[in-house]
Amino acid sequence: MTNRGRNPLLVVYMGALLAFLYLPIAILIVLSFNDSKLAMVWRGFSLRWYEELMHDGDMLTSIRNTLVIALIATLISVVFGTLLAFGLERHTRSAALENGVYLPLMIPDVVTGIGLLSFFTAITFPLGTGSVIIAHSVWGIAFAAAIVRTRLRGFDRAVEEASLDLGMREVPTFLRITLPIIWPGIVAAALVVFTLSIDEFIIAYFTAGQTVTFPIQVYSMIRFGVTPEINAVATIMLLFSMVLILTAYLFARPRPGRRSADAEEPTT
């Protein structure tokens, strides 16, 4: 551990990288309070873009749609994902299954989106909220399973065994003993899937039909021109996502003593 970590060049580099990551977002936040429509003209502090946002009916509808989709997709993902995590951790030793579980995360969104669009059209399943919920649950389950598993790994099996030995049936044991212990992992999974679902664009774009989700609305706003209203949306979304993710992190945090190595890697 001689000179590790004291390289000034690396410190500067890290600072520059964080600046690269945060400056564009910071500029959006500042501009969201700019009274002027032009980025380079500061006409004073104003909340007019937030006000316009509050009266933008299409935007509000899209946010409502997105919340409904995210909540239900999260519910499905977490229930299936928790079960799956359990099965993988406790009941199977199948390598094919182990690898297969991450396949839904490896397929590009455009392929998943096109596949489901073709499929739903072929079986004449109406495109809308329902089809997006299903589409999001497909990858949501994989994420949820991965996150719950990290929690399951640090689990003291003796507690469960004791319960089973004492004659408690497996399902009550799961509900009364296991579930409360892994609960933080489940909450974290829910928050992560929820956040990703709110953000997801490509798959929703292909499977939403007439329904407009929040990212689709943002997309068409960008396409139809630069408006500072987007800056206001960005600011609100940023705060919202941060709260969700910090909460998720607090729940998923491995107990003290273990090194945290398994931050979960999301895809868009």
């Binding site: 980025a39 299936f80 455009v110 596949g115 389950i141």
Partner: protein, 307 residues
């Protein structure tokens, strides 16, 4: 989920020691995995299978599909123009991935070598947080920064470096920039996880035993971080390759990527069979990537054992 009283199938699972708990386990095991697998077969395997089959039918005006199998779409897709789009996409995704690797490695190394766990956590969170802001909004931020009346041109003009605004937007560089910005955290995370696992004592031990620095890097460090590199490369390459909004918004629709071409076949031209053929080609490229990935990992394992 609680209706586990009557398992649908326990056959084919001859459990030798038929203890209560063991049988219960087997039953539970099936119940835990089957719902998801069913869900995935219906909503992932079947749809993608359908696309692969559709690729060999024919499209008609107004979006109908003529169910006569043939290789017409494959022949069409091998037109140099379309192969060019595929190649262009692979090049853009590769450059993006390479830049992410070069930018991400020092950062991951820096974070992983902080002595205090708290510092590590805070830095890692800082890197990840932007990732949770809406991807389109982050892309939009670059339009605000780079357009002719945008922030960068404005600043350059004000400090007198330029008289005429530069065209920073609507080119391949802007597309790569947008992709790097979008997916950099996906590279840093696995790299960090891999570097953090290296025990500094291993390095010291190797050095004490007389190994020269380069040799330490090749035989000790590299094999340990290769899995992280491979994971990062896949995480960045895959979404870059199939990206739709970035080439459209930052590239101005002038240099299409495969995702845009597919999008066009499905939602504009409505030639689904041809679009499906393009999806098939995209999947082939990705399968190549996965084969490459497993080859690298296998060779890596061998290096570690040999030395």
């Amino acid at each position: 989920m609680t209706a586990s009283k009557t398992p649908t199938s326990g056959a084919g699972q001859p459990a030798p020691e038929v203890g209560f708990t063991q049988r219960a386990r087997a039953r539970l095991g099936l119940l835990t995995v089957v719902p998801t697998l069913t869900w995935w077969v219906i909503f992932l395997v079947l749809p993608i299978g359908l696309v692969l089959v559709t690729a060999f039918f024919k499209g008609a005006p107004y979006g109908e599909i003529i169910y006569e199998p043939g290789f017409g779409n494959l022949v069409r897709a091998t037109d140099p123009l379309y192969l060019g789009v595929l190649w262009h996409s692979v090049v853009i995704a590769t450059i993006t991935t390479a830049i992410c690797l070069v930018l991400g490695y020092p950062a991951a190394y820096f974070i992983a070598t902080r002595p205090q766990a708290r510092t590590r956590t805070v830095l890692l969170m800082l890197v990840i947080l932007p990732f949770w802001t809406n991807f389109l909004i982050r892309t939009y931020a670059w339009i605000i920064l780079l357009n002719r009346e945008g922030v960068v041109n404005g600043i350059l003009k004000r400090i007198g470096l330029i008289d005429e605004p530069l065209s920073l937007l609507y080119n391949d560089a802007a597309v790569v920039l947008g992709l790097v910005y979008g997916y950099l955290p996906l590279m840093i995370l696995p790299l960090y996880a891999a570097i953090e696992r290296i025990n500094p004592q291993v390095l010291e031990a190797a050095a004490d035993l007389g190994a020269r620095p380069l040799r330490v890097l090749r035989t000790v460090v590299l094999p340990l971080i290769i899995p992280g590199v491979v994971a990062g490369v896949v995480f960045v390459f895959v979404p870059s390759l199939g990206n739709i909004p970035v080439p459209e918004l930052l590239g101005g629709g002038r240099s299409e990527m495969i995702g845009n071409l597919i999008n066009r076949q499905f939602l504009t031209t409505r030639d689904w069979p041809f679009g499906s053929m393009l999806v098939l080609l995209l999947l082939l490229i990705l399968m190549g990537l996965l084969v490459l990935q497993s080859l690298v990992l296998r060779r890596n394992r061998k290096v570690r054992i040999d030395d």
